[in-house]
């Protein structure tokens, strides 16, 4: 019993240690990288703050004006002279205060404006840089897309050429085997779907649209069956084969018949 415990004690310890390390790593080391947009946000918020400060002094001056009206009302009972002197002094003091306040406000305002201007310029530069980057990226993407399209088009063209050359081989093979019965007439049309395997062997032949003349239909079917195999298809790229030659639609249309 003790032996067994001691047997598991070491792995247990190691496991606990590993978990501890993992928890510590998660808490202290694992840091989600801050997304770059965070940097832009405070800039925008500061800009609105500037506006708020410029508004604040106006409110203050309005408040002092209301105070002044209240004072004159209270001292109406005292002597007029005292009142006038006091009024004068107060007015002068008020004027000084306002003047000082105004100078201070102007100074602050100038500083703030300057800071805002600098910030705007910085932002503008950053935006320009971003726009440039963005445009360059878009251009690159467009270029990549065009290249890809061209590559696809070229590949498609090359495949079309290959397909057409093999199509011609198949056509000639079938024509050479097609013996139309004397009842065949121009305008008769028989359609077949054939399936091939990559060896070029024709494995199934199905009439999908009858001409209405059984002998004519049979002649078309026999032409295909007599061809049996198109060994040239073995030289073809397997993907090209799969894409184009697995299933072929054939239309038999004896345009060369006199009748």
């Amino acid at each position: 019993m003790i032996d067994r415990v001691s047997l598991f004690s070491l792995p247990l310890l190691v496991t606990l240690l590993l978990h501890g390390v993992l928890i510590w790593a998660v808490v202290h080391v694992w840091q989600v990288p801050e997304p770059p947009p965070n940097f832009k946000k405070p800039e925008f918020v500061k800009a609105t703050l500037v506006e708020l400060k410029t508004k604040a002094p106006e409110k203050k001056s309005a408040g002092s004006k209301i105070k002044k009206i209240d004072l004159t009302a209270n001292k109406k009972d005292n002597t007029a002279e005292l009142k006038r002197r006091q009024q004068k002094e107060a007015a002068a003091q008020k004027a000084r205060q306002i003047k000082a306040q105004k100078a201070k406000d102007a100074k602050e305002k100038a500083a703030q404006q300057k800071a805002a201007k600098e910030k705007a310029q910085r932002e503008k530069a950053a935006a320009q840089k971003r726009a440039l980057e963005e445009a360059r990226k878009r251009q690159q993407e467009a270029l990549d897309k065009a290249l890809l399209q061209e590559e696809m088009m070229l590949a498609e063209q090359a495949e079309t050429e290959v397909v057409n050359s093999y199509k011609a081989i198949i056509t000639e093979r079938i024509i050479s085997k097609w013996s139309r019965p004397p009842s065949a007439r121009r305008g008769m049309i028989c359609e077949l779907v054939i399936q091939l395997v990559p060896t070029g062997k024709i494995i199934t032949v199905n009439i999908t649209k009858s001409s209405g003349n059984q002998a004519f239909d049979r002649s078309a079917e026999q032409a295909v069956r007599a061809v049996d195999q198109i060994p040239e298809l073995q030289n073809m790229d397997i993907n090209t084969f799969e894409r184009n030659f697995r299933t072929i639609h054939l239309q038999f249309n004896p345009e060369d018949r006199r009748l």
């Binding site: 990549d144 897309k145 890809l148 696809m152 590949a155 498609e156 397909v163 199509k167 198949i170 056509t171 079938i174 024509i175 050479s176 085997k177 097609w178 013996s179 139309r180 019965p181 004397p182 009842s183 065949a184 032949v205 003349n213 059984q214 002998a215 004519f216 049979r218 002649s219 078309a220 079917e221 026999q222 032409a223 069956r225 007599a226 799969e242 894409r243 184009n244 030659f245 697995r246 299933t247 072929i248 639609h249 054939l250 239309q251 038999f252 249309n253 004896p254 345009e255 060369d256 006199r258």
Partner: protein, 429 residues
Amino acid sequence: MISRFFKIQLAILLVAVSAVNVQANLFIEINRGNDNPSPVAIVPFAGAQGLPEDIQAIITADLERSGFFRPIPKTDMLSMPTDKSEVVFRDWRVLGANFLVIGQMTPEADQYIVRYELYDVLAQKNILTAQVKGGRDGLRDIAHAVSDAVYEKVTGIRGIFSTKMLYVQDLRKPSAGRYRLMYADVDGARAQVLLASSEPILSPTWSADGKRIAYVSFETSRPAIYIMDMATGRKTQMTHFRGLNGAPSFSPDGTQLAMVLSKDGMPDIYVMTIANKRLRRITNDHYIDTEPNWNADGSGVIFTSNRGGSPQIYQINLSNGRPERLTFEGDYNARPRVSPDGKSLVMVHRQSGVYHIATQDIATGNMRILTETWLDESPSIAPNGAMLLYATQHNKKGVLGAVSMDAGVKFRLPAKEGDVREPAWAPYL
């Protein structure tokens, strides 16, 4: 990097999708054919050994002459199956056969029952199983019946191997039976003498039901038109006019006979009601009007006339008597015959001084020359419209030739004693 990888994947997907579309649409039009004769293997029938006629050889010859088949020689055959269970398609495929015919003959009383099968070797399937009966003296009929059935199944057109023909034979030695009117299978076999005379016999022709024939005979030292009943052999003289009495032609309903008479001056076309021998003059002019032949519905007569300065073919409407010129190509077109479907003519056409057999589509006027030999004359179309017989010269002898209407196959019938001319292909009986 990642986005680029995705783009490539997308591109591959797009190509794959478009490829699926292409796969569903690869389309090939076959608008020409080679029209080589179809290889066919006719295996000797079981129980056919030791018979007076070689059934296999007759069927082989029939199908070969049709022009549509190329029989495979018996000596090339790897096996000789006579029953379905013995057929190994691979063997026939190796020989290049498209079709296979097998059969068995069983004697029953004084008859033979032939059971035969036709296979599409390439599709590896039976396409016809049938049975035909015949007496010991009708072995050729049995063989021709098999040929007809095989031909019809494969070509979509009724066979003509069981049909008959008439022709005139001239032994070229003065004798009581120098001129003979002959009746034979279209392959020339089983020829019978219908009539023998020391004087010429001309222009044999069939009624549409094949029960009567008409011909011109000089047996009374003056040409006269006769009708013969084929079942009884009874002859009826229809005309005995001064001058020309020639070129009889039965109307499609068999009640009238068109002919050429010169009793009133120049040869003109007349129509006689057979029942009462009453005559009706169809043409009346100072030119030669001859070789009348009825159109398919009996509403008009097609004939040869030199009214335009050279022999050309005209059609006259019997209800209003209005003639219409049908041929314009060349300076000699004569001896017209109308095809069974009424859509085309065959005629003798002269080109660079040589007489050929030509065919012309009545509606379009398109003409095609079918034969290349000298002095080809008297074309007669098969009742299925696919072939015609004609008279020609070979080794300074008159012989019969046959050609398919698409000019694909030509052959001569076996030469006979003397000259052979004026074939008349019988209708289906």
